[in-house]
Every structure is written in structure tokens, then in C-alpha cells.
């Protein structure tokens, strides 16, 4: 089997990648990634508004990995507890954030339904959905609030691009492809 995690994004221009991480997503890794990306954004003098949006989206996407990843398949090369992929690249007018993680086949449908629901909602509907979940859903046993994807869609104003690439019968690798750019009109 020739499963290659990097093939999904390797077609994109490598020189624009400012951060690439593959491996266990724990609290220290999250801190390190946030510091590093923030430093780089300050260094190139991005406007504070964009910087904040990117930072917020990074926090949510990393913590989504932290709280929700399924365990890796038994035959996968890197046997860590919370395997995740993160690629941050600079694109015209903003940043592209790609995350990747394993999802067990039986969990795909639920996740995809959630993304589709967000993607067919207007900005106003997403705001209302956020408030509804905020007010009615408790924090799960895993520690997530169920708000991460909704928040990302709300803050970026962009649709969530995604893909499930089959790894074997029981697992797929899920890519989430987020564009954070300046001056989004609602």
C-alpha cells in the first residue's frame, strides 16, 4: 500500500510553507506551534486583524486535533497517542492552514455531516449555530466543546475544504483545508 500523507498538499508551492508538523499533538507542541507562527507573522508585519484570526484558527484546529483524533492504525509508522499533521503556508492575502488526522470509518459520516451543515449555512446562520451550541451543549468527556469547526467557519467567513483519503478498511485520513484571508465580506 502506498499511502502518503504528504501527497495531499505537496502539490502546493513549498517555499510558502512557514510551518510543517507531523506527530503527536500534545500541549507543548501546541504552545510551540502557536509561538512560532505568531513570531513569523509579527516578523513580516501582518496586520493585527489577520494575525488574530490566524492565531484563533490555529488554536481551534490544533485543539480539535488534541481533543478529537482517533488513535492511529496499528500498522502506522508513528505509534503516538494523538497523531496529527499541520501545514501552515502563506498565500495571497492570508494564510492556508491544513490539518490532518486519522478518522475511524464509522466516524466519517458524522464528521462530514457536520462540515456540510456548516458549509451550507450563511454567515448569520453560523452565528446562530455558534450561540446555540454555546448555550446548549456541555463540554464533552474528551474536553471539546463541539464549537471548533463552527468557530473556524465563523471567523474566516470561508467554506471548509476537506477530504477523506482511505487508509484501509477501518481508517481514513482526514484533511481539513482552511483559508484565512483579509477583508472577508459577510
Amino acid at each position: 500500500m502506498s499511502f502518503n500523507i504528504e501527497s495531499y498538499y505537496s502539490g502546493q508551492s513549498k517555499e510558502n510553507v512557514i510551518l510543517l508538523y507531523k506527530g503527536n499533538v500534545d500541549s507543548d507542541v501546541i504552545n510551540h506551534v502557536l509561538d512560532s507562527v505568531e513570531e513569523k507573522m509579527v516578523a513580516v508585519n501582518d496586520n493585527p486583524k489577520l494575525r488574530k484570526k490566524v492565531y484563533n484558527v490555529l488554536v481551534e484546529s490544533l485543539q480539535n486535533l488534541y481533543h478529537h483524533v482517533d488513535r492511529v492504525p496499528d500498522d502506522f509508522e508513528d505509534q503516538v497517542e494523538k497523531y496529527g499533521l499541520l501545514v501552515v503556508s502563506r498565500v495571497n492575502g492570508g494564510y492556508k492552514i491544513i490539518t490532518g488526522n486519522f478518522v475511524q470509518s464509522e466516524n466519517i459520516e458524522k464528521l462530514e455531516e457536520k462540515i456540510k451543515r456548516i458549509n451550507r449555512s450563511s454567515h448569520e446562520e453560523i452565528k446562530e449555530l455558534y450561540k446555540f451550541i454555546l448555550n446548549h451543549q456541555r463540554i464533552s468527556a474528551k474536553g471539546g466543546g463541539g464549537l471548533g469547526l463552527v468557530d473556524i467557519a465563523r471567523k474566516t467567513g470561508n467554506k471548509l475544504d476537506y477530504a477523506f483519503v482511505q487508509y484501509n478498511n477501518n481508517y481514513s485520513f482526514f484533511y481539513l483545508d482552511i483559508l484565512v484571508n483579509e477583508e472577508k465580506e459577510n
Binding site: V59, L134, G145
Partner: protein, 126 residues
């Protein structure tokens, strides 16, 4: 009541809850992975304060970032304040946001629409 004073870290906010003055402040970044662990003591403290609050309580929220897991905990804090307000005590929330930070302003407006306590939105311009 003993005040709560917590120094901020890169992932958790500075907290000053002073029952004697009736002034409560949360300031900085609130992006911990486990936000319940951080906020539970604050919510418990407010539960005790609720028993004999001052006639006026002022709450200053001055956050630069907060994650969605904190957002639920912050709502729990506001729910305690709502209960104090409902018991005929004056409660006022000052929600600070940095210039042009529409996301933070909108976040304040979300809470304002859920919680029946007067909110004041204050733009920081410096």
C-alpha cells in the same frame, strides 16, 4: 471572602476577583486545552459570593484571545453573575475589545444576547 488572584500565563488569563470591592477582572489570553480545570474554581467562588454579594458588582473582561472551550466556561461565569443580578443586585459587565477586533466585539454581543445582565462594549484605542 478571600479574593482570587491568579497571574496570567501564555495560555491562561490574569484573574482578580475581589469580593470586598465587588470588582472582578479576567484579562489576557484564555486558550488552555482543559478550560474546565481553570474555570471551575472561579465558578465555585462565584457560587459562594452569590450568597452575600455587594449591592454593586462590576465585571471587567479584557481578553485578547479565547478558545471555544473557554467560551463555555466564560458562559458559566456569566450565568453565576446573572443569578446575582436576578436577586436584585446591580451587576455590570464591561466587555473590552481591541480596536478593529470585530470578532471579540461579536463574542461579547453573543454573551449579551444570552445573559440577562447589562453589558457595556468598550473599544480599547491605544
Amino acid at each position: 471572602m478571600e479574593p482570587i488572584i491568579i497571574e496570567g500565563t501564555p495560555k491562561t488569563p490574569t484573574v482578580k476577583f475581589d469580593a470586598g470591592a465587588g470588582i472582578f477582572e479576567i484579562k489576557g489570553r484564555s486558550i488552555p486545552e482543559n478550560s474546565v480545570e481553570f474555570y471551575k474554581p472561579l465558578v465555585d467562588w462565584l457560587e459562594s459570593y452569590k450568597e452575600s454579594p455587594l449591592t454593586k458588582t462590576t465585571v471587567n473582561i479584557r481578553l485578547e484571545y479565547f478558545n471555544t472551550s473557554s467560551s463555555k466556561c466564560i458562559l458559566d461565569v456569566f450565568k453565576k453573575l446573572e443569578a446575582i443580578h436576578k436577586a436584585k443586585n446591580e451587576v455590570e459587565v464591561n466587555w473590552y475589545y481591541e480596536e478593529d477586533d470585530e470578532d471579540m466585539l461579536e463574542a461579547g454581543e453573543d454573551y449579551e444576547s444570552i445573559i440577562r445582565v447589562p453589558f457595556k462594549m468598550i473599544e480599547i484605542t491605544d
